[in-house]
């Protein structure tokens, strides 16, 4: 069964030796971002699905370079606007 994992703990994923994973430098419980940020949640999914198709070697961990500070700033904008990004 082809699998792809979404992790915020790269060291744990390395120990487990998952076949494919994307790593996000985000807190536990926030693997797909922040509430109502649908475009960011979708982006994480698409990054994972892309790796599902493209990985050539078992143990591939691909970094998704989106800083948590930037996510929080976007979340604040979202809250201030009272809408959904």
């Amino acid at each position: 069964m082809p699998t792809v994992s979404v992790t915020v703990a790269k060291d744990v994923t390395e120990k487990i030796k998952a076949p494919r994973a994307i790593f996000l430098p985000w807190p536990m419980g926030h693997h797909f971002g922040v509430p109502f940020h649908a475009s960011l949640q979708r982006r994480v999914l698409l990054e994972a699905l892309y790796l599902l198709e493209s990985a050539q070697v078992s143990g591939t961990i691909r970094d998704v370079n989106v800083k948590w500070a930037d996510v929080r700033r976007e979340a604040k904008t979202l809250t201030d606007q009272g809408g959904k990004l």
């Binding site: 494919r20 430098p25 985000w26 926030h30 922040v34 979708r42």
Partner: protein
């Protein structure tokens, strides 16, 4: 940046793991509770395009339908059961029972940890061929990883293959 400065850098700004050394920390606190494998499993290839593939979602986030009984969050060794989560459900149909990670934001929008509505959208747009009828969730906290593999992991894997006929699985450890 010097080594001293690097160690003081805010990981939220540098884009590094926010909680470094998590495996070691948990394994020291709960000896033997963390999984470590000696070798990689062979890479299973996706045998059809995503647009024709049926995807399942498996998460340790402890989410389940509000109509189902909750998992046991208080047992000292963990709850070695899982819940099927119908993939057609929406945020308001679901609830989280888990004590080991912050889920305040996921309580507001379940897609933060269990992106069920985003997956429904990708399937309806044809990015995915479809979703399995059920997704799967369990409580990640447990003190016996070997028993976990024999029970929860084995039973979910069997259901994913024989009942749900998934072509691929998205794993979301919480």
């Amino acid at each position: 940046m010097t080594e001293a400065n690097s160690s003081l850098a805010d990981p939220r700004e540098t884009g590094t793991q926010l909680r470094p050394g998590l495996w070691q920390t948990v394994n020291e606190r709960y000896p033997g509770s963390m999984i470590e494998k000696d070798r990689f499993v062979p890479l299973a290839e996706l045998r059809k395009p995503l647009s024709k593939a049926r995807l399942t979602l498996i998460s340790s986030c402890g989410v389940h339908a509000k109509t189902d009984s909750s998992l046991d969050v208080c047992h000292p060794f963990g709850d070695f059961r899982f819940r099927r989560v119908p993939s057609r459900l929406r945020h308001q149909d679901l609830i989280i029972h888990q004590l080991k990670y912050p889920h305040d934001d996921a309580d507001v929008d379940i897609n933060v940890i269990f992106p069920i509505e985003r997956l429904q959208e990708l399937a309806s747009k044809g990015v995915l061929g479809g979703l399995t009828e059920n997704f799967f969730s369990f409580i990640g906290y447990n003190m016996d990883p070997e028993k976990f593999e024999r029970t929860v992991a084995h039973d979910i894997a069997e259901a994913v293959v024989t009942e749900e006929r998934a072509d691929a699985a998205l794993l979301a450890p919480a």
